[in-house]
Amino acid sequence: MTLLTCIMVGVIFAAATYMMLGRELKGVCMGVFLMGHGANLAIIATSRSPIGREPPVLGLARISELADPLPQALILTAIVIGFAVQAFLLTLLVITWRRSRTLQLAELAVEEGA
């Protein structure tokens, strides 16, 4: 399970890096979002396999069978922050599109020079 998660993290980071190297802003932003998911998955991989463990709520299970709550709390926070960042970036994309009618980095640079 952990091994599978680790491989997935690697694949996601590789895909995200590939997208960020593109010349089009939408793809670059999607790459950044994807990378955030990869980071979240990396955190869950550090919490050992949750399979067969109880959810981390006291009083429902024996303490030794609880899943590690801390990485879950971290991911929850990271996801919320990620939402805010995504909303901001998408807004920025919309404004750029309205102003310039293009999201190609090369065209944006030309326009700025003109």
Binding site: M35, A39, T77
Partner: protein
């Protein structure tokens, strides 16, 4: 003042942001309310600096508040030690000065209703990064700070600004993602994120060798935020498009937060591990030399005030990095005590330099803003003769510029002097030579602004449109405030240096910090290695479970049970 009140450092700016948000339609009320909050914020910070620096009991020097009374390392911890208190006081002062400047000088296009809440949120993020007691809270604080800075960055959205905004936002987002990944990996290896607890693990020599790549990755994260070589490329292009008030705020605070975090993480947390310092110190020292020298070469080649100043940020960051590197290095040829003393002095020099740079750099950006107000441009070929037009501005600029270059008895001299002396003590002759050369070139580039902007024959808007008068009272007042602080750091250098040495000693000898956060009682409970419950894990994860993780987790369960 009770220890738990240190949470005011977060409550005051957060309250300011909420109030300013509610008042976004009423700009005339936002201004006095914001000023009142920032003054209160400064007073709170200064009060705690006084508390930690005058405490007779050494335990009183580190103020700790555990949120919700959850004991460290399981809850959220806020810590104010002399280093954090000093940074907080100076940063709150810089924020106040920039705010006063922005009240009168900032264009209405930028200073719309939402500038104020974002400004206060930025202050919140900066102050939280100074007091955060664990790595993940540091991440959250960084995110608040960066999010506010993104929003301020695109205020008024000119096209050039938009394009640079992408560079700034995307690079910082990648940095944040790496940071949160590092948090996960550190937790996976050490089973804790609490800074004091990690420090204790490192001091006990229980840091696994597999942590070193993660720590190096942290250097990448903080290096990008601090704009060190080779991760600085985003900075020169982005800062010069900003209006002067915002540029001053970013220049005075953001990269310095990165430098502070480097001292906290690499010197305090991981500085006790010879393996880590053996890997990181050469990287940091080489990067410091290249950063400071290339930065100043860039500044000498530029020909516009804001560009010179923004690329100078990089060069100054090199000195801070030099202090961090000298503070980590295992000194050859010195006995143990002398080596520790040299490390402590180098860190003190770096802290003094950061504080000096926050004030002076911000002040110079604000001066640049007023030069644009007077002359209509900041291209040194198109302006001149401002000495006659604005004698006060010229005087204040000259003092700040010479402070930055480090002429005695102004403030920049003392930080550099300590750093260079410790460089010689530790036999880093190349680095020290670069530091001295950089200092001379800094003087050259500052004199370039002075001679082209102020001394040359008059030209620019104030000549072609002589009836155009600008209001600069608020701007001059805030610049004067910063210059007075900078002068006091020069003429009262010994008392500032005393505080900086106190701050450095809590970082180089972190025992006080660890005891204050974890509590004397908690330390023995964590010390013995508990048997881990690896047997109930799947086979693929059992390798993880050895060592620190099981121990911490069981301790966590203990503390929950005892509650």
């Amino acid at each position: 003042m009770p220890e738990r009140l240190i949470v005011y450092m977060l409550v005051v700016p957060m309250a300011a942001a909420i109030v300013a948000m509610c008042l976004h339609g009423f700009r005339s009320i936002q201004r006095p309310v914001g000023s009142a909050f920032l003054v209160a914020n400064f007073l709170v910070c200064a009060r705690f600096l006084y508390t930690v620096c005058t405490a007779t009991d050494p335990q009183g020097r580190v103020l700790v508040s555990q949120m919700g009374s959850w004991p460290a390392p399981f809850g959220i911890t806020i810590v104010v030690d002399p280093l954090a208190a000093l940074m907080l006081t100076v940063s709150s002062l810089v924020c106040l000065a920039v705010f006063v400047y922005s009240l009168t000088q900032l264009d209405d296009r930028f200073a719309g209703g939402f500038f104020h809440p974002m400004f206060h949120l930025l202050v919140l993020g900066v102050q939280w990064s100074f007091v955060a007691g664990d790595l993940f809270n540091l991440f959250v604080a960084f995110e608040i700070m960066l999010m506010a800075s993104y929003a301020i960055f695109v205020l008024g959205t000119t096209r050039a600004q938009m394009r640079q905004a992408y560079k700034y936002v995307l690079l910082n987002l990648i940095g944040s993602t790496l940071f949160v990944t590092c948090c996960g990996l550190v937790y996976g290896q050490l089973g804790t994120l609490n800074m004091a607890h990690i420090t204790q693990i490192v001091q006990d020599g229980r840091l696994p060798a597999s942590s070193i790549p993660v720590i190096t990755m942290l250097l990448l994260v903080f290096g990008a935020k601090t704009a060190i070589f080779p991760l600085w490329y985003w900075l020169p292009d982005t800062y010069h498009t900003l209006p002067a008030a915002i540029g001053g705020l970013f220049a005075g605070l953001l990269t310095k937060v990165g430098a502070y975090v480097m001292i906290r993480v690499f010197v305090m947390m991981f500085g006790g591990s010879p393996q880590v310092t053996a890997v990181l110190t050469p990287l940091i020292l080489i990067s410091a030399g290249v950063t400071m020298f290339l930065g100043v070469l860039g500044a000498v080649s530029m020909h516009s005030v804001r560009r010179i100043l923004s690329i100078h940020i990089i060069s100054q960051v090199g000195y801070m990095l030099m202090g961090v590197g000298l503070g980590m290095s295992a000194v050859s040829g010195l006995s143990g005590g002398a080596a520790l003393a040299s490390r402590e002095l180098a860190i003190a020099g770096a802290i003094f330099f950061i504080v000096h740079n926050m004030v002076v750099k911000c002040c110079l950006f604000l001066c640049g803003g007023l030069m644009i107000e007077h002359a209509g441009s900041d291209d040194l070929n198109k302006i001149g003769g401002l000495l006659r037009r604005a004698p006060w501005l010229a005087t204040l600029f000259l003092i700040a510029a010479l402070s930055l270059a480090g002429l005695p008895p102004l403030s920049g001299f003392f930080g550099k002097w300590v750093l260079i002396r410790e460089g010689f003590t530790q036999q880093q002759y190349w680095l020290t030579g670069f530091a001295i050369a950089t200092s001379l070139l800094t003087l050259l580039s500052m004199l370039k602004i002075w001679s082209y902007g102020f001394w040359s024959p008059p030209q620019g808007q104030h000549v072609t449109r002589p009836h155009y008068r600008v209001r600069t009272v608020g701007g001059i007042a805030s610049i004067a405030l910063l210059v007075v602080v900078a002068l006091s750091m020069g003429f009262g250098a010994s008392s500032y240096m005393k505080v900086a040495r106190l701050a450095a000693s809590t970082v180089v000898y972190p025992r006080l910090y660890v005891d204050a956060v974890l509590g004397k009682a908690a330390a023995p409970r964590l010390a013995p290695m508990r048997p881990s419950h690896a047997s109930i894990d799947g086979p693929e994860t059992s390798g993880h479970a050895n060592g620190l993780r099981g121990e911490t987790r069981l301790a966590a369960v203990d503390s929950v049970e005892t509650r």
